[in-house]
Structure formats: C-alpha cells, structure tokens
C-alpha cells in the first residue's frame, strides 16, 4: 500500500515536471544573422577595423531604414536578413557608411563614404523543437557590391553560401 502511494507520487511528479519544454532556450540555434567580417585589402590574412561604421537596411524602394549598427569602429558586423516565403530568392540590401562623424563635424573637407551591398539567398525552414517551432536558414547566398564613384569596399568573398549558424563569418569584405 505504502509502495503504491510512493509510486503514484513519483508518476505524478514526473508527469508535471516536464513543462519547462515550452520556452525556447536562448542557447538553441534559431534563425541566424548574417555575419560579415572586414579584412585588409593589402594584407588579406589580416582583419581590419572600419572606423565609425554605421549600417542601415535599405528597403526595396530604396528608402534607408533604422540603424543596425551606429558609429562603431569594428571589424565584424551581425546583420538581420529579410525573409518571407520559403524557397523564394530573397534580397536584403545594406548601406555601410564609413567615418560616420565626417558628415556632421565642422570640417567641410571630409565626407562620410557610404557603400551598398546586396545579399541574395533562398530561405529554407527547418524544424527545431516544440518550443522554438521552425527556424529559417539561408541557402545559395550571393553578394553584390553596388559600384559607385568612390567605393571604400574594394572586393568581397563569400566564405559560406549556406547561412545556418552564427559561429563564423559568412561574407568577408576587403577594404
């Protein structure tokens, strides 16, 4: 009799203690960001910081959206990718402005320089878990540098055409 009561209690406690599954843990790998690193064009093994970099998304009508990165000197940036339907080639466009302070300071001879990159990819939805549902990964990534009269980015390299994690850079920009 006593054994049974203990067994009933054990079963009830096991049955009710499993609810923690319903919250998606931060450690779970879900929809990844695009990671870009900046390397030195003259010494392509070396990373090189961009001075006071500001990054904005640009929508399909060419409007500049909110800052993703605001006046930070850095050699790597983490960018959100736009996606809607699975399996449809999708585009995210970013404006990268170097020397963000030059346009606003008192010196009239220096200017900020903005370059635009266009990233194309195909979203694929992958099941993660009960709590997290689905994530999107991005396949067949391509990058285009919009050429203007004064590019500060000289070239690029796609390190990984599949964006499915945030462990390493996917695209390298040389400047």
């Amino acid at each position: 009799m006593k054994k049974f009561i203990i067994l009933i209690l054990v079963i009830i406690s096991i049955g009710t203690s499993c609810e923690r599954d319903d919250i998606c843990s931060e450690n779970t790998s879900t929809t990844p960001h695009l990671i870009i690193r900046f390397y030195n064009v003259d010494d392509q093994e070396q990373t090189k910081q961009v001075r006071l970099l500001t990054v904005n998304g640009v929508d399909s009508d060419g409007n500049v959206l909110d800052n993703i990165v605001s006046s930070v000197s850095t050699d790597s940036i983490v960018l959100p990718l736009r996606f809607q339907n699975e399996g449809v080639i999708t585009t995210s466009r970013f404006a990268l402005k170097r020397d963000s302070d030059f346009d606003t300071d008192t010196n009239d001879t220096t200017f900020s320089n903005t370059d635009e990159i266009v990233v194309n990819y195909t979203p694929q939805f992958i099941y993660v878990s009960r709590a997290c549902g689905y994530k999107s990964v991005f396949n067949d990534t391509q990058n285009t540098l919009i050429v203007d009269s004064d590019n500060w980015i000289f070239s690029y390299e796609i390190v990984n055409t599949t964006i499915d994690n945030e462990n390493a850079a996917h695209i390298i920009l040389y400047h």
Partner: protein
C-alpha cells in the same frame, strides 16, 4: 559522559517496553474460523469518463476510450484499452493537430487484500501501446529573434503527415472500487516511455493519441484515466477467508 548515561537509560527503557508488548501478545490465544466467499470472474468493460468530459469542455480535444479487463487468477488481470483521440496543440510558434486511434494491452496485478467478499483493486499494471495517427501542421511562425525587417513570418501550410505510428511501453497504478453491484469506478496514472515512433519529415510529433504530449526533453510521457466499468460475471470461484472468532 553524561550524554552516554542518558542514552543508556533511554535505550534500556525502550527495551523494557518491547518485552512488555511481547508478553502481552502471548496472552492473546487466537481462535479462528474459515468462511468461503464466492468471487466473480469475468469480463469487465467500461469507458473513460475523463476523456468524454474533456471532449465537451476543451475545444482542442476530442477523445474516447473503451477499456476492459479479464480476470485470469486471484490477482492477475488481462487488461487493454482501445481509443480514438484528436488533439490540437497550439503554442506561440506552432499549431498542429494529431488525430488517430490507439490500442494498449497488458496485465494488471491487484495488490489489495480485500476484506470478506469485497472485490476492489489497488493495482499496478504494465502495457504496450500502439498508435496509428496523422499529424497536421496547421500553421507555424518562424522563430526569429530579430524583427528589424518585418514581424515574425507566419505560414499556414495545412500540411498533413499521414500513416504515422508509434509504439511505447507503460506502467500504471490505479484503484478500482465497486460502487454498485458489478459496477466499478476507477482512477489510474500512467507513466509512458516511447519505444519507437515515425517522425514526419522536417517536423515532429507533439502529441500521439494514447501516449499524449511528447516532450522535447526525452522519451517519457504521462497520462491519467478515470473509468467507469461493468463486470460481466462469467463464473465464480471460491475464496477461503480465515476469520478470527
């Protein structure tokens, strides 16, 4: 030192008390008599009330289960359940419907020693469960922590994965009480362990009929039942009870 003496004292008092008890019981000469009771053996059939009630109260759930057991010996019963369930699981990122039928078979062991002619049960049981079901992905939202470009994207694929099956094992404990002649009500708790299941492509079973909710963290599941059943007596067997006079 003082401590030690105190404990000697206490221990010797306890030993003295024990001897007293022993001598008392020896005074009690037991006189016994035997009585024969008829015990019903047969097929007990019933339904699960909790699933029926839940079908009315919960919009996301429809289910019904019939259960039965057949008494093999004084303490052992052959037992089984047959049911259908349809359950919609709705979370922040997924909405899915599992639909199907299940069958469970196994043994119950009654550990309760009944008084006189009573035939109640406090029992433990084992089962093997088998379910055949489909899983429909009604809608999902892609988990994206960054909403710079847009709100999280939701799709309604209404995609049905058919012909899935699952096999699991189960241990359960419960009680069955005879409330009227041959009419029993029972309550049981089940602990389940998945043995094998078909997973839909790029998706997972969140609920399996009969097994209930599937957790991310492991293969264990749980359940309960509240049954009402009727015993169809087929034959009677004698039970010899020794009574103190």
């Amino acid at each position: 030192m003082k401590m030690q003496r105190t404990s000697y004292y206490i221990i010797s008092i306890i030993i003295m008390m024990l001897y007293n008890v022993a001598s008392f019981s020896q005074d009690n000469a037991v006189v016994t008599d035997t009585v024969v009771f008829k015990q019903s053996y047969g097929l007990r059939l019933g339904g699960d009330l909790s699933k029926l009630v839940r079908s009315f109260l919960d919009d996301d759930y429809k289910g019904f289960e019939i259960n039965g057991d057949y008494r093999l010996s004084k303490k052992v019963y052959l037992a089984g359940e047959l049911g259908i369930e349809e359950k919609t699981t709705d979370s922040d990122y997924l909405n899915t419907t599992a639909k199907g039928s299940y069958f469970k078979a196994g043994l119950d062991y009654n550990s309760y020693i009944n008084w006189l002619d009573m035939e109640n049960m406090i029992y433990g049981g084992i089962r093997v469960g088998l379910s055949s079901f489909s899983q429909t992905l009604n809608s999902f939202t892609v988990y994206n922590t960054d909403q710079y470009w847009q709100q999280q994207f939701t799709d309604n694929p209404n995609q049905e994965f058919k012909g899935l099956s699952a096999i699991w094992s189960e241990i359960l404990v419960g009680i069955k009480v005879e409330v009227l002649n041959n009419l029993y009500v029972g309550l049981n708790f089940q602990l389940k362990a998945m043995i094998t299941q078909d997973e839909p492509t790029n998706f997972a079973n969140l609920y399996v009929p009969g097994f209930n909710k599937i957790y991310d963290s492991g293969r264990l599941g749980a359940g309960y039942g509240y049954s009402i059943s009727y015993l169809i007596p087929i034959y009677k067997k004698n039970k010899i009870e020794v009574l103190p006079k």
